[in-house]
């Protein structure tokens, strides 16, 4: 097993790929019986400091329907200078540049260690990155001030040649012209009127330039920046100007009478931002960064009316079909998101407010375009400030950790077809022969567009084995998949990253143990969770849970070792042992449970779940709990109420929150001030240890988690208590008063009960 774990880890590090199954059942029938689909988590731009990009173009298979990239799995005839495509078996001539090729002199892409390789392509115009700030001015003075400072600060983080633009909104929407001296100009739009892209461009005076732009772009790319120069300017030229402009930004001046919400035209502002970029810089990397401090209250995309007495929709309202504006608003933002995605731009949403801000309706803007979604209480918090700063963080090369306008092209060998993908992408609707009719997620295509991605953006890609049941194991015994990601690097280069992976086929009937052993339960859990969450977006919660349960039971039935009708005999092999636990926590997670979460929160959690890599996703599903004590070094402990002990400090990382929890005794000690006594310095160190560890996490994670420092009995302890497995509750009285753990006041089932039921059902012949 160790070998498999290493194999998996090695593969992940090299290719950024984790498959649910690392040995593939060779027939469709067997594959379906595996319950967990053949799928992988792909991190297209996984950071590879050890992988220098090559400065030439990839060699493509000449078959028009294939166009796979030359890779280490290809058979090469060095004499004839031919290579055979390992996907379509087309024999291809090497291009002239490869004349000197030989076994001894191989190009990088043929070397096995370059199963993932990155090409830099020198073609097309290089347009600078574009950042369009869309700023809500209906904020409290403090918030606005903080936001202004953050924005001003961000100017210094941007690449000097990047283009920036500014749109502010409140009751009206203002598009600021940045090039003017002496007088600041802005174009103002009514916040209540939906405008077509054409109208917006007309009104911004972009129509005329746009025409020649389309015609002359190939010829005269230089002319382009000039066109929209009024609204989008290179940072280095106008940062002073823009800093001043931001400095002068005032709160929306329109009076807000008591009992009303300020009128906030988020829908129109976004629409204008999208229209502006659409008309000026289609298909180049651009971020629309929306900063909003409340729900849209007027115009298209309004989420709630301006009457304060009418609260914003809750899950309860939605279930009762009582959310008046939800459908319309969602439709508006979906339309915008699709347009944005079509143009290769992305929308980030930074929503900071105590109440909901309409993320539920707006989520598609970020989800479909690969944009960020950040939710905080106020712009004047480190959560927002640092998160925002981290957007502009740089990698080991000094490049921004962001890429734009990517297309992901997936090629499979003939025994496989593509069922779909789940992640921050949209379909490009390329229906090739390798597209399955069995659909998961965003399906019906072999290519997706990812408008924005960073090194951690991860997609779940689902496949279907199409080999017939009785057909032999395919030639060569391996199936291959190639992921071709073309994108605009933050340095504005066009790059192509190609990852080619292969896995062995196995006959599930007689080689099931191989397959079983090659099961990656972590990847499988995340992939199943993504499916579940994807379903949850459109289906009723209970249905999804039922579906997940059924899948789990079926898996257990398939791979468990048990005697029929004897729950006690049930055993799972090591490669499956953790899987039920993941499912247990997944069922309790905010991705599937909306209880106690607002619709906005649910959207926020789901958004991040659908784009983070495996590790982070697992943390989200099953938070990590570390225990600090005098008994030894910090250790991970069970996410269980029994881990909550009086003499321990607990550090829980749920991805969204970092909770430090002082046990009862520890808290008392601290209260007594022992940490300040020189003789109890070790106590001080103990207190400090989790803080340092938490700091490490806070420093790296995006978005920055909510940092909670609490203790036994503290109100904030609920964050911890709601996550741990309620093995001890007020119900199982026998545990009351026992020395270990703390009872959780809940009616939720505990893992033990869950497992008992699972065993019972798995061994039952009825199901």
């Amino acid at each position: 097993m160790a070998t498999y774990l290493e194999f998996i880890q090695q593969n992940e590090e090299r290719d950024g790929v984790r498959f649910s199954w690392n040995v593939w059942p060779s027939s469709r029938l067997e594959a379906t019986r595996m319950v967990v689909p053949l799928a992988c988590l792909l991190t297209p731009l996984k950071e590879r400091p050890d992988l220098p990009p090559v400065q030439y173009e990839p060699v493509l298979c000449s078959r028009p329907t294939c166009k796979a990239v030359l890779n280490p799995l290809c058979q090469v005839d060095y004499r004839a200078k031919l290579w055979a495509c390992n996907f379509c078996f087309q024999r291809n001539q090497f291009p002239p540049a490869y004349a000197g090729i030989s076994e001894m002199n191989q190009p990088a892409e043929l070397m096995p260690q370059f199963s993932t390789i990155e090409y830099i392509v020198q073609r097309g115009p290089q347009t600078p990155l574009i950042f369009l700030y869309v700023v809500d001015t209906c904020l409290e003075e403090e918030d606005l001030q903080a936001l202004k400072e953050s924005l001003q600060m961000s100017l210094s983080l941007l690449p000097p040649d990047a283009l920036v633009g500014l749109i502010t909104f409140g009751r009206m929407v203002q598009v600021h012209e940045l090039s003017c001296e002496g007088i600041s100009k802005s174009y103002v739009f009514r916040g209540t009127k939906d405008l077509t892209a054409k109208q917006i461009q007309d009104m911004l005076g972009l129509t005329k330039p746009a025409m020649p732009a389309q015609q002359t772009r190939p010829v005269q790319p230089q002319g382009q920046p000039f066109i929209s120069s009024r609204f989008l300017q290179p940072v280095h030229k106008i940062d002073m100007n823009l800093t001043d402009l931001l400095g002068e930004l005032q709160r929306d001046p329109w009076p807000v009478t008591q009992g009303k919400r300020p009128l906030r035209s988020t829908g129109v502002a976004l629409s204008i931002a999208v229209g502006l970029l659409e008309g000026t810089f289609p298909n180049t990397g651009a971020r629309i960064m929306l900063f909003t401090g409340g729900p849209p209250t007027q115009g298209p995309g309004m989420v709630v009316g301006d009457e304060l007495k009418v609260p914003i929709r809750s899950w309860h309202d939605i279930e009762k079909d009582n959310a008046r504006f939800m459908k319309k608003a969602t439709k508006h933002y979906e339309m915008l998101a699709n347009r944005t995605a079509t143009n290769g731009h992305c929308i980030d949403i930074y929503a900071c407010a105590l109440d909901q801000t309409g993320l539920l309706e707006m989520k598609c803007c970020a989800n479909l375009t690969g944009g960020h979604m950040v939710m905080g209480d106020s712009f004047n918090t480190s959560l927002f400030k640092q998160t925002f700063q981290r957007v502009f963080s740089k990698d080991f090369n000094g490049d921004f950790r962001m890429a734009f306008g990517a297309t992901l092209d997936v090629k499979t060998s003939r025994e496989l077809k593509i069922s779909g993908a789940i992640g921050p992408c949209i379909s490009l609707n390329v229906k090739g022969p390798c597209v399955s009719e069995n659909e998961y997620g965003i399906s019906g295509t072999s290519q997706w567009k990812i408008c924005s991605l960073d090194p951690t953006s991860t997609l779940g890609i689902y496949f279907e084995v199409v080999n017939q049941h009785n057909a032999p194991i395919p030639q060569g015994g391996r199936g291959a998949i190639q992921f071709v990601t073309q994108y605009q690097h933050s340095s504005t280069q066009r790059r192509i990253r190609v990852t080619t992976v292969a896995r062995n086929w196995a006959d599930a009937q007689n080689q099931l143990q191989h397959i079983e052993a090659a099961f990656d339960q972590e990847a499988a859990a995340v992939l199943m969770a993504r499916l579940g969450v994807f379903r949850a977006e459109s289906e009723e919660g209970p249905d999804v849970l039922r579906w997940l349960d059924r899948q789990l039971i079926r898996l257990c039935q398939k791979f468990g070792q048990y005697n029929k009708e004897d729950p006690n005999s049930f055993r799972l092999s090591d490669s499956f042992s953790l899987y039920p636990q993941f499912m247990f926590h997944l069922r309790r997670s905010p991705f599937l449970q909306v209880f106690n979460n607002s619709p906005d929160e649910s959207s926020y959690y789901r958004h991040h779940f659908a784009r983070q890599d495996l590790t982070q996703s697992l943390i989200m599903i099953q938070p990590i709990l570390y225990s600090y004590s005098f008994h030894g070094p910090p250790e991970p402990v069970l996410l269980d109420s029994s881990s909550i002990l009086a003499d321990r400090i607990l550090l829980m990382d749920t991805f969204f929150q970092i909770v430090i929890y002082l046990g009862e005794t520890i808290a008392q000690w601290r209260k007594a001030g022992y940490q300040d006594m020189p003789e109890y310095e070790n106590f001080k160190h103990l207190l400090q240890a989790p803080l340092d560890d938490a700091q490490d996490i806070l420093q790296t994670r995006f978005p920055m988690p909510r940092y909670i420092n609490t203790e036994h009995g503290g109100s904030q302890a609920r964050f911890l208590l709601s996550k741990v497995n309620p093995s001890q509750t007020h119900n199982n009285l026998y545990a009351w008063g026992q020395e270990s753990g703390a009872p959780i006041l809940t009616d939720d089932v505990s893992l033990q009960v869950f497992m008992d039921h699972l065993k019972k059902l798995a061994v039952s012949s009825a199901s």
Partner: protein, 1090 residues
């Protein structure tokens, strides 16, 4: 009386006979030879009846000229006949015994020649019988007009009238008579004319016309002239006229005149005028003809035909003998200018508007506020209908007063507000009767009795007057103001001080012409002069700025900003105001930002290439801004072009000269779309007044663009082809005045009257949403509302008729006030009283507004005709009911209305009702709207310009030189004249003016070196120059709009422009000369009387 006087003329007629014969012979002889007959026929065809007369007159005229005054009388008859012919030839024939008798024979002979059969069939008179003649006449008229340009017709016209004039004048001696009339026969003053043979002549005229041409052209006339010349005075005239009638050709005759040296002399003396009128060419013809040559191409032809001896045409009315506006004005000045006009008595006719007088308010509103067409109202509607005299009041509620007169007192009744009648809601005024010891008062309008509020109670003295009578303006004065309570405010909230928003077109045209630069520069200083109330330190008015082309740019000029902010709104389809705070600001607080803005605007748009503009959205924006600021205000719009950009209120160029004189002509005065009307309504509701400054290079559709300014009580200023160099002064001057003037906002005016009459119709720049309340978003001291009253019951002579005009408005400091004007009029049961208390200037004001509104719905011709017929009815009614019996041939005018014909004629031939070729559709629409809100003084001078000779009076004298009549024949070649009509100002320099004068005025050595079209006089230190410049300045100071000076040299191209304003002459566009028109009027009257 005068009437009788005409009789003598009769004698002269007798004389003419010889002439006739002469003519006859001539006709007879020549007719044959030349083809012209047909053309004449043609003329006859088209010409309207009254013009026919002229033709005949024309020929006479010349002779008359030869024969001085005497001839006039003689001619008179001849003219009259002509009328008779047209209108009621038969009837007239009957009455006009002697003279006619004589003529008939004469005419007969003529007749035979041309249309022998017709003529013969009827009796001598009969032949002329109405039907045939009239038709012919009309046809002729038309022809004449149409062919206007051609020599013959015009001349004919001119002549025609002269003759008629002559008749009139005959009866009415010259101005002297007028002078005397007032004294002796003041009321009935009438001009009597004998219509002796006229009829015949006329008839013969048409007929002859056909035959004439040849004859006329030929020698025949000359001989006749020769012969008549002597008798011509008396008789020669008429005969000639007859012949002339026939031969509209008379003009032809004249041309010949030019040839012959003989005729000239006479021409000079009296005829010059006529010549000027239409044939102005004739006069000048001798020397200057070349200039006119083009126009009067006909002349040459004539010349060719008969050639030399033509001079005879002599007979005409003596212009000096017909009522002269100048004389009337002078007399009134002399008689009434010296002492104050005290308004205490009921129904007093105030002095003319041209007279300077002081008003003492003793219970009635000053005529500066209200003027009536008549100060004596018929008691019954039957009488009113019979007289046809419109009962109207021209009200200028916020009129500016001369410094000697105190502005209305402001009365504050505290929280209870003004005391009002319970029923009709009339405000407390001097005519309210306190009864029961002062505990109640009876309303003077509706007779309802109302309790006097306790706090207002006061005891009465023995005469029934309240003891505090003299302490309370509302009890003792005609005009006063109340402070309004909150009940009088919109939404029951006291208004906020108004705001001015400057909205500047920054499209290519505006920038290129230099307008934007100029305006921004000017605004910087102008903003210091916003209107302020009383002695306020600074103006309460806030200002805002917008520029626009296809989109709108709002500016945030909040005082806290380091630099202005511009906000562009491109969504013109759905206008809104993008900012709240910082748009409307206090000038002093935001001065640095404003100055910075005004500096930058010209720069920002210096390179603009945007040529399209929007218009309606701009107004919407301004209105929305005021709405958002919850205040009334005024928009100053500076606009250059037809708004063709895609936006609400988009217009297309629909100017089409082909529509002129068709039924569709009215569409040119109507707005293109109904959009602007509803926009105007919204503006009024918001108290948003719009002043529009137009700088068009081409058609901008003033008729449509002007809708909003018009309905919101705003003004329109138009500067065609604006060039900074030449138009700067005028524009800036207008702008300054417009910005600085005191304005009332969000006003509602209500006119209440005594039971018996009712205000039924309103004219002016305002909006009405119901039938009684005149709503004005803005109202300044130049705006006038004309109100027409109709009877709905009987009035009593005892009670008289009362008018109370109440204006509720917001002052420029944001105070809500009520201004009340009261006026009491007499009532009469005798028509003569009515006619004795009329005010012609006011009447003309009403008629002009009525007519100008009429063109929106009816063809222009219909409007003109109805004007003429209404006036004819007025005068006929007088003649029938008030004048002492006299010959039907006499034209008798009431003293108070003796200028009605000349003024009416001016209205008729104004650009709106009878446009010349050079008058654009925009000009007409512009003038139409201007006139609609003019007051009496403005209409007076607008329709009858002032013409002052400059060198007649010693340069040292400070007095204004006596005006002369607006006719070319009054111009002396050796003099310099100043002409103004309130909109235009000309300095006309005669060709043979003294070099010294030229030198001292223009600083050039000779006439030829004067730059034609000069718009300013050099500042020279000599008495004449100084005097002229002072005069010009004083003219400008009197008018609400700056008049740009144009220097016109005699016989220069520009002179055409100038001549357009010589309103007593025949106009190029076909307007009749005074004399012609008077004849026509006379004819109409006679027709009515018969």
């Amino acid at each position: 009386m005068n009437v009788n006087q005409p009789a003598p003329p009769g004698v002269p007629y007798g004389q003419p006979q010889p002439g006739y014969t002469g003519y006859q012979s001539g006709y007879g002889g020549q007719p044959g030879p030349i083809i012209p007959p047909t053309p004449y026929g043609a003329y006859n065809g088209p010409m309207p009846g009254y013009q026919q007369l002229p033709p005949p007159g024309v020929p006479r005229a010349p002779p008359s000229s030869g024969t001085p005054p005497a001839s006039t009388t003689a001619r008179v008859p001849s003219g009259q006949p002509a009328y008779g012919q047209f209108g009621q030839g038969d009837v007239q024939n009957g009455p006009s015994s002697t003279v006619q008798m004589q003529r008939p024979p004469v005419s007969q002979p003529f007749v035979p020649a041309p249309v022998a059969p017709l003529v013969n069939q009827p009796a001598p008179f009969q032949p002329y019988g109405p039907p045939p003649t009239s038709t012919q006449v009309t046809t002729q008229m038309a022809g004449m007009q149409i062919s206007g340009p051609a020599a013959p017709p015009p001349s004919a016209l001119g002549y025609g009238p002269p003759t008629s004039m002559a008749s009139a004048s005959g009866s009415f001696p010259g101005s002297n008579l007028y002078g005397s009339y007032p004294q002796n026969l003041a009321p009935p003053t009438s001009l009597a004319q004998v219509h002796p043979g006229a009829q015949t002549p006329q008839r013969s005229a048409p007929l002859q016309a056909s035959s004439f041409p040849p004859s006329a052209a030929g020698g025949p006339r000359p001989p006749s002239i020769a012969g008549p010349s002597m008798p011509g005075q008396s008789f020669g005239g008429p005969p000639v006229s007859q012949s002339n009638h026939a031969s509209s050709p008379p003009p032809q005759a004249q041309p010949p005149m030019t040839g012959p040296p003989g005729p000239p002399p006479p021409m000079h003396s009296s005829q010059p005028g006529y010549q000027v009128q239409q044939n102005g060419s004739f006069g000048p013809a001798r020397g200057p003809q070349p200039n006119y040559g083009g126009v009067y191409s006909g002349a040459p032809n004539f010349g060719s035909q008969p050639g030399p001896p033509q001079p005879p045409p002599p007979k005409r009315l003596d212009p000096d003998s017909i009522p002269s506006p100048i004389q009337v004005i002078e007399d009134d000045r002399n008689n009434r200018g010296s002492e104050p006009f005290v308004t205490g008595a009921r129904g007093q006719v105030p002095p003319l508007v041209t007279t300077n007088f002081i008003v003492k308010d003793q219970g009635n509103a000053s005529p500066r506020y209200i003027r009536c067409t008549s100060y004596n109202i018929p008691c019954t509607s039957d009488m009113a209908k019979q007289a046809q005299v419109p009962l109207a009041a021209v009200i200028k509620p916020l009129a500016r007063l001369p410094p000697e007169e105190a502005p209305p007192y402001v009365v504050d009744h505290g929280e209870s507000g003004p005391v009002r009648c319970n029923r009709c809601k009339a405000y407390m005024c001097p005519f309210m009767q306190f009864i029961e010891g002062g505990r109640r008062f009876q309303c003077c309008f509706c007779s309802c009795v109302t309790e006097v509020p306790p706090q207002y109670f006061q005891h009465l003295d023995h005469t029934g007057k309240r003891v505090d009578f003299y302490d309370r303006p509302e009890l003792s004065l005609g005009s006063y103001e109340f402070l309004a309570t909150v009940d009088y405010c919109k939404n029951n909230k006291f208004p906020r001080p108004p705001a001015f928003i400057f909205m500047i077109d920054v499209s290519y045209n505006a920038v290129r012409s230099g307008l934007v630069q100029l305006l921004c520069e000017e605004l910087k200083s102008l903003l210091d002069f916003l209107p302020r109330e009383g002695g306020a330190e600074e103006s309460a008015v806030r200002v805002g700025f917008v520029t626009y082309n296809k989109v709108l740019h709002f500016y945030n000029v909040k005082s806290s900003l380091a630099q202005p902010q511009m906000m562009v709104v491109s969504d013109v389809a759905d206008m809104f105001v993008p900012l709240l705070d910082g748009f409307l600001v206090n000038v002093n607080e935001s001065r640095p930002v404003i100055t910075s803005l005004l500096d930058q605007i010209p720069e920002m748009f210096a390179d603009t290439r945007e040529t399209e503009t929007v218009f309606a959205p701009v107004i919407q924006a301004g209105m929305e801004a005021l709405k958002a600021a919850e205040c009334p205000g005024k928009l100053f719009l500076f606009h250059t072009s037809l708004p063709i950009a895609d936006a609400p209120g988009k217009l297309k160029n629909r100017d089409d000269r082909k529509l002129l004189n068709t039924d569709k002509e009215k569409t040119l005065f109507q707005p293109q779309t109904g959009f602007y009307q509803s926009l105007a309504k919204e503006c009024v509701a918001q108290g948003c007044c719009v002043d529009l400054f137009l700088f068009p290079n081409q058609y901008v559709d003033v008729a449509t663009l002007g809708i909003v300014p018009h309905h919101t009580g705003g003004s329109i200023y138009k500067y065609a082809c604006f060039q900074v160099e030449s138009d700067q002064e005028r524009f800036l001057s207008d702008l300054r005045r417009d910005v600085q003037k005191d304005v009332g906002f969000d006003a509602v005016m209500r006119v209440r009257t005594s039971t018996g009459i009712r205000a039924t119709d309103f004219f002016g720049a305002f909006y009405m949403s119901n039938t009684t309340d005149v709503e004005l978003a803005g109202l300044d001291g130049d705006k006038t509302v004309t109100v027409e009253f109709k009877h709905d019951d009987r009035l009593s002579e005892d009670g008289g008729a009362l008018i109370q005009c109440a204006l509720l408005y917001t002052s420029c400091a944001g105070q809500r006030r009520l201004r009340i004007h009261n006026l009491s009029l007499n009532c009469c049961t005798q028509l003569a009283d009515l006619y004795r208390n009329c005010e012609t200037d006011t009447l003309i004001n009403y008629l002009a507004k009525f007519a100008y509104r009429g063109v929106l719905n009816s063809p222009v011709k219909t409007v003109r005709d109805s004007l003429v017929s209404q006036c004819a009815q007025i005068l006929a009614c007088y003649r029938k009911n008030c004048a002492s019996p006299s010959s039907a041939g006499q034209l008798i005018l009431p003293e108070c209305m003796k200028l009605l014909p000349v003024y009416l004629n001016c209205v008729l031939k104004s650009d709106v009702l009878q446009p010349g070729a050079e008058v654009t559709t925009d000009d007409r629409a512009y003038v139409r709207q201007l006139v609609t809100s003019m007051d009496v003084a403005e209409t007076n001078v607008f329709f009858y310009p002032r013409l002052l000779p400059l060198t007649k009076v010693p340069a040292e004298s400070s007095a204004e030189p006596p005006a002369v009549r607006a006719s070319e024949e009054r111009l002396s070649k050796g003099d310099v004249y100043l002409l103004e009509n309130g909109l235009n100002l000309f300095l006309w320099v005669g060709a043979s003016v003294q070099q010294g004068v030229v030198q001292s005025l223009f600083s050039v050595p000779s006439f030829s070196q004067i730059t034609s079209g000069l718009s300013a006089l050099p500042v020279l230190e000599n008495p004449l120059s100084k005097r002229v410049r002072d005069l010009i300045d004083s003219f400008r100071a009197q008018r609400s709009r700056y008049m740009k000076l144009i220097v016109v040299k005699q016989e220069d191209k520009l002179e055409m422009l100038f001549k357009h304003f010589l309103v007593e002459d025949k106009s190029l566009s076909g307007g009749a000369s005074y004399v012609d028109f008077l004849c026509h009027m006379h004819k109409e009257i006679r027709q009515l009387l018969s």
